[in-house]
Subunit: 479 residues, 2 copies
């Protein structure tokens, strides 16, 4: 039997080529694999396990806020998609169309859902009649299809996994409250569980979801200074209800149009994790969603007693976290590199000397800090270390964002800031006109990201036209 | 405010029209709703919650047997589907075809996956090179599409939810072992958690999965005497590996074709639950997958102290099972009927007199047995009652199957048994020829269901041709 020397291949460094670094990590950490289906990918076990952890936590948060899961069909008849004018205009150009069932041409073509507002509306019309039927607080975990021209793993693919919440309420106030509540859930999820700091805000008119009255969003800043929209929450008013003729008898026994919301998060979050926390050694995973939280690596495992002790240690750790042992024949050095590549938050080494001293070596992934830890209370220390990793990567991401957030008073300020410091968020005042939004983009390359809930007064003049400013805006280049 | 008197509508009785009874239950228990997408349905919160429980339990069983979840694209390019000849012949006639992306005609059309063997094969070819890469034990939870002509909720729909396991092994023995292991998992799941007794067996040659060498299955008997295939597990040999040119270096350093399996269970299981356990009052849910296991119904809830006590009781029950209180303004009688319709295994009534006596009334759904239970140890009793429901419905289903299983020596026996006793399983000897299989079906209406693992000797002559019999077969009409 030939000894297999599979080495962990080096990846491109971030500074050299960030885009290449990103796809290297996706492949080498075994998150995805390409397929012959253009623009679609296989999510491999390690990548999918991250998604399962995301799902489990988010689903729990949805249920705690009173939501129920359902499942709508994956197809939308063309006539149904067309019922809301803005909506179909936004989505039709990127729909995949089913035209044949077996060998028979369909009478009406069906699109593979790019999003499911129209299906939920049809269903709401069937099941909502009285104020007693409201609110409806629904969610579904499915995949959707958008026929993108250029694609990248997790960030932009023709098919992606997501959850889409769809809710229906008796009043506008309730619906707006729901829209804000779910943005709050998304914010908490990103910051607490993914360790990604986000800016909460509202999209400008030109950047709203097709059919929405308002779109709220959370925006994160990636390691390269580009912005990434991590989640959106839309308030629809009663526009869809009118288009689909959904009415209910209110408490005064009058037929009324209900108010609607939708909100979604996608496998894009995995892209956000990679680009927020990753480094030149590969992935760095937030402990809450890491498939393996602690990897036990025996050192000199052929020596008597080492494997037994390492296994015993792993069993103890399994009681408090997702722990695993790698007792394969690869060298410890190979294993160190492998699990760094895979972003495992904590590595635990144990060899003959450690056993003699009743200790092990604990290394945290994000800063490679080494600690000798007594085996007596290893469970406790591992939990502390996991919390340390979570806080450490959150603070590093926040620090990166703050270092890369620039204040601009005029267009020159923007250009200069980007040239001198690299890409990042620009905070600047804005007059509220789409013209200025477009012009800023054209001349400096940064688009509007959101009108942040947390406003600051940075002067009273629009960064572009110099006329009276209405609001502060975050600008940036976006994924 | 007008008092709403929403009544629980009666459903068609089983004996009168079983098919109508079935769809009545699906609708009135709020499991599904129809849509304008022909042959597709909305799975409503109550129905989806059953599926979530099924998923959670099965997924745990898959992981315990070493399987990992992945996610393949939902599209299959036509050329990829065509690589295995038997497979494409079996599935192409019922594929939904995507021919346009946005306004552009695709160069190659894509089918929406009817099953994913071809995608898994393409992926295996990319990631499997050495015996060290084997086995691959994969599963995915997705929906698939088959363009059926006639459809029924859960039993046969154009889109359905399922899990599909796909595994790759170094040897035929290992692959066969896996095929059998997963049939065992399915059997345990059905019998233990769904309380549905099943027959384990092998499909005849003519009834195999397209591309399989062997198809194992579990068959259940519904209340009306029709058979339902509840799960299948396929052994592919190395046929797909050869078609897709998947090879690995074995321990002797020789290029070898690996051996493959796949296995699946679907939302059809919900149909099986309905038709195995349901009655003229509606659903009867196996406790392990019931979204609500115990419903607390306050009696005379306007009287002082009743609601407080009922809520307190519900909180106690929530600690041991999925309990819920209905304190809406509907009458207790309405609520009794409503939760019977929804198949909630245990109902707990509590009114002023009960409170005086420190007791409550517990009613089990399947036999409507009433017990007065002291509040002191209600948690314990509820768990006992849930176990009682599970055992009770399992035994009733087994009794029904045994009563409806007939032994036949010749074609007349079959016809007579069905005429005298109604539909059911026929056990009969078979010579092994497809000709006899077809003839039995043509002349008596029953098709071969499976060659059971548990063989009995019922004579030595084929039930059809009278020639030497090879094996005992189960026959039946099937969903």
């Amino acid at each position: 039997m030939a000894q297999q020397k599979k080495m962990v291949d080096a990846i491109t460094s971030m500074d050299e080529d960030f885009a290449k670094w990103y796809t290297d990590v996706c492949k080498k950490a075994e998150l995805i694999e390409y397929t012959s289906v253009k623009g679609c990918m296989v999510i491999r076990p390690y990548g999918y396990a991250i998604w399962e952890n995301i799902q489990r936590i988010l689903d729990g948060m949805f249920k705690e806020t009173g939501h129920e899961n359902v499942c709508m069909p994956m197809f939308i008849p063309e006539s149904l998609l067309q019922k809301e004018k803005d909506h179909v205009e936004g989505f039709a150009p990127e729909c995949a169309w089913v035209t044949y069932g077996g060998s028979e041409k369909l009478e009406e073509r069906l699109c593979v859902r790019p999003t499911s507002e129209t299906l939920f509306c049809e269903h709401f019309k069937n099941v909502v009649h009285s104020h007693r039927d409201l609110p409806k607080l629904y969610n579904q975990w499915v995949s959707v299809v958008r026929w993108e021209k250029t694609t990248r793993p997790f960030l932009r693919s023709r098919e992606f996994l997501w959850q889409e919440g769809h809710t229906l309420h008796a009043t506008a106030e309730e619906a707006i409250e729901e829209t804000e509540r779910m943005l709050g859930v998304y914010t908490e999820f990103c910051q607490k569980y993914l360790a990604i700091p986000v800016i909460q805000g509202q999209k400008t008119e030109s950047d709203k979801f097709a059919g929405a009255e308002r779109t709220y969003c959370i925006e994160a800043l990636m390691h390269d200074g580009k912005a990434l929209q991590a989640g959106t929450s839309h308030y629809f008013g009663d526009g869809f209800a009118r288009a689909f003729d959904i009415q209910f008898l209110n408490k005064e026994n009058k037929l009324t149009y209900p108010h609607q919301t939708s909100w979604g998060m996608t496998t894009r979050l995995i892209g956000a994790i990679i680009m927020t926390h990753g480094d030149d050694n590969g992935l760095v995973l937030p402990p809450d969603v890491a498939p393996i939280q602690a990897i036990v690596i025996p050192v000199a495992q052929h020596k008597e007693g080492v494997l037994d002790k390492a296994n015993e240690l792993c069993e103890r750790l399994k009681k408090v976290c997702r722990a695993k042992i790698d007792d394969s024949e690869q060298s410890p050095g190979w294993k160190f590199a492998e699990y760094e590549m895979k972003g495992v938050p904590v590595r635990v080494e144990i060899g003959p000397k450690d056993i003699e001293n009743n200790q092990c070596v604990v290394v945290t992934r994000h800063n490679r800090e080494k600690t000798f830890v007594s085996l007596d209370n290893i469970e406790e220390v591992i939990l502390e270390k996991l919390a340390e990793v979570r806080d450490g990567i959150y603070n590093a991401a926040l620090e990166n964002r703050e270092r890369r957030t620039y204040i601009a008073k005029n267009l020159d300020d923007i250009t200069k800031a980007l040239e001198e410091n690299g890409d990042g968020f620009i905070k600047a005042m804005w007059c509220g006109s789409e013209e200025c939004e477009d012009k800023v983009k054209e001349l400096t390359g940064v688009g509007s990201r959101c009108i942040p809930f947390e406003q600051e007064t940075l002067g009273d003049k629009c960064v572009c036209c110099g006329k009276e400013a209405k609001t502060m805006l975050y600008w940036g280049k976006a994924y």
